[in-house]
Symmetry: C2
Subunit: 412 residues, 2 copies
């Protein structure tokens, strides 16, 4: 039998009625000939309740105990889903992470999956079981204790199972009906994409389009797992959702597939840095050591042996960055006249694998922004992406202008 992985997030299993709704989607896939591995999250709100208790008891908690407590939410949903399927006449049983086992690293609270031996579940499929319901987000570490994979970990569980059990596809059921050319709340002309490549999805995921967890997309790309994002609250048809797949599966790729944005970036400028060989290393090494995720970097043209260095980092890391730089200055490893943090910015990006073979995307982007009077503060590019930092007040305008400029309302 071909195999299919179906993952249901917290809002898709929020109560017994929604679990039944999800189970009916599973039943339909079984009827069309699949052996199905269902990955479930905790009923929405449950994980927050458990995390709240742990935080209240112990602000600096033992992550191993945190994992033991918090993983219980997924176990409840897994059992209830198996029972619901059985009631519908579908042979099903539940597995907790340690039962499969989902073997992970020992990094409690943020563990990585290392191995999923497929034998136990495969043996049950061979005996006639049609659905294996697996508690997402959790595994077992080398110390025989329960681990969790961190926020959004159930997506990663789903992709890992699809790879380990050689599933034909991994369907991620969520509360949106797919991946859009941009956020429909900002640009009403945004269109759902039928297909998108792993590379593009990865850029969109890490740029703030919160549909899929970045790690799960990375994993899907590495193991060539075909990933479909679709809504639990709509009937499923051939064209439902968005398929995240290899470039080769996308017939005619557009130059630009989507416009992403992020409000969580801050711009920091070191004013009048003494310019000498090794200065970039002297600045960014202490930042890396302090755990600051530096994204964009721009160095001004040097004048009289001094220059300005600008970079961006997540807003909530600004204090940490300032501290690291002040300490480096105090130690004398760097020298600057001022440090300016600007949190009133945002990052807007255009993403598309077509850029590889089409020149002029950046120029078209800058023209579109200039035509609307949006001033660009920092620019960064990758093979399939161009990002700019602009004043936050221009965010919606920039997104709309770029959506128009690349004619994304005609995407599909």
């Amino acid at each position: 039998m071909p195999r299919l992985v179906m993952k249901f997030g917290g809002t898709s299993v929020a109560d017994l009625a929604r679990i039944a709704n999800a189970a009916r989607k599973v039943q339909r896939e079984v009827e069309s000939g699949y052996d199905v591995i269902v990955i479930v999250s905790a009923m929405s709100g449950k994980t927050n309740e458990l995390v709240g208790w742990v935080d209240a008891v112990s602000p600096l908690y033992d992550a191993r105990e945190y994992d033991a407590v918090v993983s219980s939410g997924e176990n409840v949903t897994a059992g209830l889903m198996a029972l619901t399927l059985q009631e519908m006449g579908v042979p099903a049983r539940s597995w907790q992470g340690w039962q499969v086992p989902v073997k992970t690293t020992n990094a409690h609270g943020a563990a990585r999956i290392e191995d999923i031996p497929p034998d136990n579940i495969a043996a049950k499929f061979a005996e006639g079981m049609k659905v294996a319901v697996v508690a997402g987000f959790q595994g077992i570490g080398p110390d025989n204790r329960i681990t969790t994979l961190g926020r959004g970990g159930s997506d990663t569980t789903a992709v890992a199972f699809a790879a380990a059990m050689q599933a034909e596809r991994c369907d991620i059921y969520t509360d949106v009906d797919g991946v859009y050319t941009t956020d429909p709340r900002i640009e009403e002309k945004a269109r759902k994409l039928d297909r998108i490549s792993y590379e593009e999805m990865l850029e969109l995921a890490s740029l703030g389009a919160k549909v899929l967890q970045t790690r799960s997309v990375e994993l899907a790309m590495r193991y060539k797992v075909r990933l479909r994002v679709l809504s639990s609250f709509e009937d499923v048809t051939e064209t439902s959702g968005t398929l995240v797949c290899a470039e080769e599966e996308i017939m005619e790729s557009k130059v630009v597939s989507g416009v992403a944005y992020s409000r969580d970036e801050a711009k920091m400028t070191l004013v009048s840095v003494a310019d000498r060989p090794g200065i970039a290393a002297a600045i960014f090494t202490p930042l890396a050591e302090a755990g600051v995720n530096v994204d964009m970097i721009v160095q001004n043209i040097s004048e009289e042996g001094r220059t300005d260095m600008t970079f961006s980092c997540p807003t909530d890391q600004v204090t940490r960055a300032e501290k690291a730089l002040d300490e480096a200055k105090a130690k004398g490893t760097i020298n600057y006249h001022g440090l300016i943090a600007d949190k009133d910015v945002c990052k807007v990006s255009v993403v598309g694998i077509g850029m590889r073979s089409h020149a002029g995307v950046a120029a078209r982007m800058f023209q579109a922004l200039a035509a609307e009077g949006v001033n660009i503060k920092v620019i960064t590019t990758s093979e399939i992406k161009v990002s700019v930092l602009v004043d936050r007040k221009y965010m919606e305008l920039a997104v709309q202008a770029l959506h128009d400029a690349f004619e994304l309302e005609n995407a599909a």
Copy 2:
């Protein structure tokens, strides 16, 4: 280090404040020199919530999935208790049943503990851990799936750990402060007992005094585990609670230790049964096969080859008993003129190991009841117990009369 088992029921860990209260009691025992194994129930209400979901999804549920869902409540408490102890500076960690492992039979929903290898926990004690917090009520079956032990199973878990880990004592913390000579709600002169023998506690537990689960007392008796019942909501002193222990530890045993009652008994009478050898077997075999728990049995004197046969069984099994007897009559294996079920009765019992060496307890009991005008319908006795069935309206009166007659207000 000597070891101690401490078990906290659902009301004792109902919220974070109560978990902290329980943890302080554990801390005190650690400070006085014990390595402690703490057995926890689910926060009160949680198990009912989980059971409610399972029932709603699947009235005739798969017991293996039921166990997977319902056991999660204890896991949450175990983790929270370990974290709370760590916050107090007490080295603690949690174990789920499968991690210990608590090996059980495969009877999901009503499994029996078969083995608890002490090595894992003992090794951690040797490394300096002071408290092992274990999720009660659960284990792992031979099929590597989670099992539960049935209602009140956490008491059984506690006693089994005390036996497996050679604990000095097993303290059961609950919402009452000990075992009483009778129910204080019925007889205000009821006194807390300092000590009671396993045999007496077993009679009291199975007769309706709901302090300890019968199975846990049986297990304690078999493995000579000293069991103390005490309140989580009071300070613990030398004389707190009631010690359930071997007869030898009780200096001077009273003839009668307590008066128990049960409202859940019904009296059934088969009128005019054809009296012949084997008639009792013909009646009680189909009842046993139908799962009816027959308690008392009385056979009238035979007249003209016919007799009346009276027995008692739990009220909620009356319908089942009637069906089994009607079927036997239809098959012709028994013959009777009428079947009368009387649910308006109750069972009142006096219990005491002193009865073994003191004659006349039954006579004194019957006199006390006669003096109050209470008519006795059925009598049954064991080595350390005399039980009578009386009209339900006399229950309080009978309990009070017997409490007086055996001078239990002077017990201690």
